[in-house]
Amino acid sequence: MLKETPLIEVHKRYGGKIVDFAGWAMPIQYSSIIEEHMAVRERVGLFDVSHMGEIDVTGRDAAKLVNMLITNDISKMKVKQAKYSPMCYENGGIVDDLLVYKLADDHYLLVVNAGNTDKDYNWILDRAKGMDVTVKNESPNYIQLAIQGPKSEELLSKLMDVDLSAIKYYHFDLGKLSGDGVFAEGIISRTGYTGSDGFEFYTKEVDKAEAVWDLIMSAGKEYGIEPCALGARDTLRLEAGMLLYGHDIDENHTPVQADILWTVKLNKDNFIGKDALKKEVENGPAIKLYGMEMLDKGVPRQHYEIYKDGEKVGDITSGTFAPYLKKYIAMGYIKSGVVDLGDEVQIKIRNKFLKARIVEKPFYKRR
């Protein structure tokens, strides 16, 4: 039996095509993935991402626990700030990648991938033993909406009682969203998984999910808002060079290999995976995640093989047609020292070796 978010009826009402995503019944598209993608790049789109997990960490040792769990450093974080980080095993493999919200000095909210929520919760509970801390899986008690695109601030400003222009990237505020007799309190953060400007709204007023969705949709009409689903979420994040757990990262890959060394703070006190990651940085990783753009016409997809001078050198982890850039793009792990930016490689697509070029990530960068 698939899990459902409180917005399942809304997805059906808007004509969403429902699929099984990590055990959740979620829409993959409403109108068209390309149309939804373009709405986010050029206007504004609304996503239900309530399947994401929320794990609440409170208590005197909350900061200590979180900083031990993740590779990034939260010690200098201010209240109402958010941070992206991998969470690793001792061997450096990635348990999950997550967002840390600092609600108070002794209160953090970890937002984790839907398919990893139970695994993460158990992992964190185990590490919390003997610490003065309370860890709670709050996932069923939150709805999370992502309002993404250049018009998102203008649209939400009509509905929120906080000054959104004052919220910087990876910061948040606590506020009330209201209009048409509906109101809901929650966290509003300038974060997202699309590469466009945007916000995410978390509220525990789960029974108001439909009313809040409809309110944002009707207030967004004048900005050309589109309901957006997981298909567009995937093309948007890939175009923006963001990693997807289970594709680009997993327990067999480290943040060093995944080319997100900026999230690994080797100078901070002990954290899980530090020794392994330090050694890997010193010795250099055996493989590294690269961005590629097709020179020949073809759609690169996960598990396709990458070749250089007739020899297999890697595998694609994510690939798609990038609707905004109008290019076929991919990310994949390639043996270290084999390629440089600008080099040509071949991707094996249905037994043909098609030309691609190593390019910088992100593929898309907003101005």
């Binding site: 068209s32 993935i33 390309i34 298909g231 093309t235 759609v299 798609t320 047609f321 076929y328 249905r350």
Partner: protein, 122 residues
Amino acid sequence: MKKYAKTHEWVEVEDGKGRIGITDFAQKELGDVVFVELPEIGDEVKKGESFGTIESVKAASDLYAPVSGEVVEVNNAVVDKPQIVNEDPEGKGWMIVVEMSDPSELDDLMTEEEYKESIEEE
């Protein structure tokens, strides 16, 4: 005469030639088409076998020939602009024309009415 295959291709017959494409139902199921690969003029296609590939944002699928024959025309417009398949799948979005080698193959295919019934069951 226009007939339909279970694999969601249509073939429109005129003077012993069959113009082939995918149905409106198929393009809706696929979603945004972003890549089409077709055979070349002179290639032989065989009923029930793959004659090309169509890829949407989500996935790659084979195109199956509803009839056998030699390819005499190829619609390069859908290779250059795959979205034509979404916009007009049963018109401008046609893919190939074959000189049919065995017109009796058409007997196994569905009429428009039969095809409509079959997709309602899906």
